[in-house]
Amino acid sequence: MADLDIFRSETRAWLEANCPAEMREPMRSEADACWGGRNPTFQSDAQRHWMELMAERGWTVPHWPKDYGGGGLSTAETKVLKEEMARIGARSPLTSFGISMLGPALLKFGTEEQKKHFLPEIARGEIRWCQGYSEPGAGSDLAGLATKAEDKGDHWLINGQKVWTSYADKADWIFCLVRTSTESKHQGISFVLFDMTTPGVSTKPIKLISGYSPFCETFFDDVKVPKDQVVGEVNRGWDVAKYLLGHEREMIAGMGLGGMGGLGAGSLGAALKPDNALLRADIAAFDVDALAFAAMSERFFEMFKAGEAHPASPSMMKYAGTELNKRRHELVMAAGGSDALEWDSERSKNGKNARDWLRTKGNSIEGGTSEIQLNIVAKHILGLPGA
């Protein structure tokens, strides 16, 4: 305990001395995040400096082993670091699918060579990754995917199409599910990694109802991928995919918090100041659910770290968190009245309320629909028959 107290006071002092003031301002949207990559765009010198300082200590991925670019911190130390960062409102230095999704999968399923090669790049924010999962014919039925990888002796030859690839147009590499066998639906899938600049890869942004294009269609036309870029065994990529999906769902569930860390960190009602009694009642009901969910998130994090969480529990959290976030934005729109309907005025910050509201409609679809999450809970947690 004493060691942890020392770690806390050292961490506090270091953060106080090194976190730039600008990086203590709350992020307004995903666009404010630092995504890294080969050709990174930094919003400011402070953002770049903050990422580099943190990466130097391995604190972009504090709990990863030092050998792979991490901070080598224990679970307890990681928690202290998070608490100390939250205390001063420090922004996350680096946001990436490499950290939240691919990294955990590589740590579990990757070869030593793969870990040594890919993980430090992720930790330093040098490579920006995207995820090639969904296809036009494989949404909820993800394992029905058809993008084909043929064994050509010294390489795989990939042909097919992915969709809903987040930021594919900005990514350097992709982690991708491909069909390497048609003999078995689930056991004919492999998990491959490749460079987005490989000849034959092309992307096309998809314009959403919000007017923004965070997702792309991604096309593969005779893409050659070296044989050693498969993670886990050939035809056993579904195991990797499922493991990674758990991490993705955990991350998405976090949006249930809506940027508030829990009790005392503010409430929707306090922000909206509703003047209609019936709306106030709906918002109060929402605040109860949101604060209860915040308590659950805290507990879930502890249980997960201690290995006491049910493996299917990220599905429960993803479902609850995304449905809550949709409700939050419905209430923001209701309280905003006609102000919230302005789409392109400066006054409305380019229609932020309306666009954010529309974006949330995808929350309960991406990463597996709410209905799929309920199927998973019914089958794996409740043990209901035939689910």
Binding site: A270, D287, V288, A295, M296, R299, G386
Partner: protein
């Protein structure tokens, strides 16, 4: 919320085993209901609570108790809820014990509570809704003591309690927190009208018609009754939330089991997605309500100033979720769920009473709004 310690896990297992063996509906709730028991619970079982040390769960160690906190009380109450066990645990060992904590009444009453001889009730409500600030029952000074006039209702276990902790107004006007005083009213001092509630538990309507009390009936200080009352209400509400989580979990477990047994159209009804999704949704909600209840208990124990908000969140969420659990339970059981023979209906009735106790969903949602500044 840190995870449970080994000691807490052990306590939970002990309580779970004890209450599953001794506290279930066949041995307790149905038995006492069907034999017309006037107390509404079994005194033998209450003695067993005492033997296990549970009646002293919140009583400090130097006064003979276990010296534990709201988290531990919540673990026991979840099991009480799951088994629908009738007992004065919540009013006596949790809310009551907390009310008198650190006062002269603790010295007087703790010994009896520890051995299971003294039952406490909390008399707060004066109308059909819960609104402690609006207390109007008057206590006027006369000689060395006080004279009480007014009425209380929904005094759970008030019909059999040895001491009724009664909130009265000694100054100020209804709506003020200042000017309230908590009195320890001994059995027989006021006119008690026993009431059987929908869940077969017993409560009382109490009339105070020039009831004379000595000055030493005052718990803590005159005009400062809000302090002990707030302790009791925080503990009572967090405890009721935990018990509601148990009610929800018990009803849900029973319902999921039924879905795995009942066949229609040649299939187990649990194969139907229309029911699977509702059961899965409910499961998640119960987990969230449990986290909220434990969070509230934890903040009470650590003396955190966010405890009042966390308690309001917990009571509102737990009541909401338990309400869903018991209603879904009855519906998914079909016709059998409407019969008195089946236990699922007992959960519906218990939830109704616990949901109302110490403030209903609307009371606590409003409180969350007020505490959040809107």
């Amino acid at each position: 919320m840190p995870l449970l310690t080994d000691d807490q896990k052990m306590l939970k297992e002990t309580a779970a085993g004890f209450l599953a063996d001794e506290g279930g509906p066949a041995k307790q709730l149905r038995h006492w209901r069907d034999t017309g028991c006037t107390d509404g619970y079994g005194t033998e079982l209450w003695k067993k609570f005492a033997e296990l040390g549970l009646t002293g769960i919140c009583i400090p160690e130097d006064q003979g108790g276990l010296g534990l906190g709201s988290v531990e009380a919540a673990l026991v109450l979840e099991e009480i809820g799951r088994n629908l066990t009738p007992s004065p645990f919540l009013t006596t060992a949790v809310a009551g014990a907390r009310a008198i904590e650190g006062t002269a009444h603790a010295e007087r009453l703790y010994p009896g509570i520890l051995v299971g001889d003294c039952v406490l009730a909390l008399a707060v409500d004066e109308s059909r809704g819960h609104s402690p600030e609006k207390t109007g029952l008057s206590a006027e000074r006369r000689g060395n003591g006080f004279v009480l006039n007014g009425a209380k209702q929904f005094v759970v276990h008030g019909n059999s309690a040895d001491v009724i902790l009664t909130v009265a107004r000694t100054s100020g006007s209804p709506g003020d927190r200042d000017g309230l005083t908590l009195f320890a009213v001994p059995k027989g001092a006021a006119e008690v009208d026993s009431v059987t509630l929908a869940d077969s538990s017993k409560a009382a309507r109490i009339k105070f018609d020039n009831v004379e009390l000595d000055a030493d009936a005052v718990v803590s200080e005159v005009d400062n009754g809000w302090t002990p009352l707030a302790r009791a209400l925080n503990a009572g509400r967090a405890g009721a939330a935990a018990e509601l989580v148990g009610v929800a979990a018990g009803a849900s477990t029973m319902t999921v089991e039924y879905l795995k047994q009942r066949k229609q159209f040649g299939k187990l009804i649990g194969e139907f997605q229309a029911l699977q999704h509702r059961a899965a949704h409910l499961h998640g909600e119960i987990e969230i309500a449990r986290a909220a209840a434990l969070k509230a208990a934890e903040l009470i124990d650590s003396g955190d100033d966010r405890a009042e908000l966390a308690v309001a969140v917990a009571k509102a969420k737990a009541a909401d979720v338990a309400s869903l659990a018991v209603r879904e339970g009855v519906q998914m059981h079909g016709g059998i769920g409407m019969t008195d023979e089946h236990d699922i209906g007992l959960y519906l009735k218990r939830e109704a009473v616990l949901g109302e106790l110490f403030g209903d969903v609307y009371y606590h949602r409003n409180k969350v709004a007020e505490l959040s500044g809107y």
